[in-house]
């Protein structure tokens, strides 16, 4: 019998991503942490639509059990939107680096105080 152990591991991975976002002082590292968080959310979502012993949701004669296609659709588009927004974040980092000369959180705050 399968349990929910996969969800525990996914939660642990999600929390490592969240920890990196909060604990790291470097904005680029925070962004990487965010992408780890994102991947774990995707996996939790997809895991809810799995049906044991079923086929991928591509209709074929002679197959009557399929996994749930709806989470697949939602996550598929989310992945591509995710890379587009990540590119936007990277472009923002490039501009921040140009304007401040650093991507360190504390140094950025200090420069803002000075101004």
């Amino acid at each position: 019998m399968n349990g929910v152990a996969h969800a525990w591991l996914i939660v642990a991975l999600m929390m490592s991503g969240l920890y990196i976002v909060m604990a790291s002082a470097h904005l680029f590292k925070k962004l990487i942490g965010l992408s780890v968080f994102q991947v774990s959310v995707f996996m939790l979502y997809i895991s809810l639509g799995v049906v044991e012993g079923a086929a991928p949701p591509i209709v074929e004669p002679g197959v009557d059990a399929y996994s749930n296609p709806l989470p697949h659709v939602l996550i598929l588009t989310a992945i591509v939107v995710g890379i587009a927004t990540m590119a936007l974040a990277l472009a923002l980092l490039v501009r921040i680096r140009r304007a401040y000369g650093t991507l360190d959180e504390a140094a950025l705050a200090a420069k803002d105080e000075d101004a």
């Binding site: 996969h6 059990a65 591509v80």
Partner: protein
């Protein structure tokens, strides 16, 4: 416990290990590579979970394009290490509380692979039973993506287009103007050049297959767009950006990006003009199923065009940046 479930758990444990190394490492390039590994492992998890379309997308986007863009951005930023130790205590506490609550929540989750799970109760049975008949498309993921939830997907496409515009706007005006050896020459290694020269046509052909076979197998506009873009980026990496720009001038890419959104919206408006609802493809042909199939084919083409051109434009914008330094 089934073999598949064991495999999922093993892969997840492997990803946790990579995440642990990621949290500990100060090297930013190592962080990008570890995130790529996590992403590729998640693609394997998606395959085990029967989400073949998702796995496909994650492998091409998360492990491929995201890693490439991150490395490019690192080069532009001129940063190597995440120096400066920050807080440890408070984040750890927050993660502990948050994770504890989530673990408490997992007690109510249905067991992995339960066919009677709540997620299987509502629209999913209808999609699976009627989707293939109503749209004429055996890949139910494509049918739901482009037809049942076509409105959603249109929104997502506009988000991608807008994000692309944002990147171009943010990075406009700070690019290199004159010739630069790295941008111009690409990779000089003869083996790399020969292999890529033979590989690129097959990558592009595969992308077209994924685009137009997405109705019958895993694939569709999102994946095809990214793979086509990957082929072009591979060409630019090897032979230099100017060579790519001779084939695909940026002005044409910008036009293509808008054309994709326009095509998707245009199909919706055509449905309105023919007396149906927005994006109700059934009215596009004499036969409702033929109309659905035609509509799905056209909007997927729109998705492919926009995703492809936005990806190449974003890659180009980062590649043309001056490396490091302050303005």
């Amino acid at each position: 416990m089934s073999v598949e479930y064991g495999l999922t758990l093993t892969l997840l444990a492997f990803m946790l290990l990579a995440a642990w190394a990621l949290a500990r490492s100060d090297d930013l390039l190592a962080a990008v590579m570890l995130a790529g590994i996590i992403s590729l492992a998640s693609a394997a998890v998606f395959t085990v979970m029967d989400a073949v379309d998702v796995a496909f997308t994650e492998a091409a986007v998360g492990a491929g394009v995201a890693t490439l863009l991150s490395v490019r951005a690192l080069g532009v930023l001129g940063e190597r290490r995440a120096a400066g130790r920050a807080r440890v205590g408070l984040p750890f506490l927050v993660v502990l509380v948050c994770g504890g609550l989530l673990l408490y929540g997992t007690a109510d989750l249905p067991a992995y692979g339960d066919p009677a799970a709540p997620a299987m109760q509502h629209v999913a049975p209808h999609y699976l039973a009627r989707g293939g008949v109503e749209t004429g498309v055996p890949n139910i993921v494509t049918a739901v993506l482009a037809s049942y939830r076509g409105f959603d997907t249109f929104g997502e496409l506009v988000v991608i287009f807008t994000a692309g515009l944002g990147v171009l706007t943010l990075l406009a005006g700070s690019g290199v103007s004159g010739a630069r050896s790295e941008v111009d020459a690409g990779d000089r290694d003869i083996i790399v050049r020969q292999v890529v020269k033979w590989l690129v046509p097959f990558v592009l052909l595969f992308a077209l297959y994924v685009q137009f076979h997405g109705d019958y197998g895993p694939g569709g506009g999102f994946q095809a767009g990214v793979i086509f873009a990957a082929g072009m980026v591979l060409y630019a990496l090897t032979f230099g950006l100017p060579r790519l720009e001779r084939v695909l001038p940026p002005s044409r890419l910008r036009l293509l990006a808008a054309t994709g959104v326009w095509l998707y919206g245009g199909v919706g408006v055509a449905c309105l003009l023919r007396g149906g609802a927005f994006l109700d493809y059934a009215v596009l042909a004499e036969d409702a199923v033929d109309g659905q199939h035609l509509g799905i084919l056209l909007v997927e083409l729109g998705v492919g065009l926009t995703v492809f051109s936005v990806m190449v434009l974003i890659y180009r914008a980062f590649t043309r940046q001056r490396h490091g330094g302050v303005e």
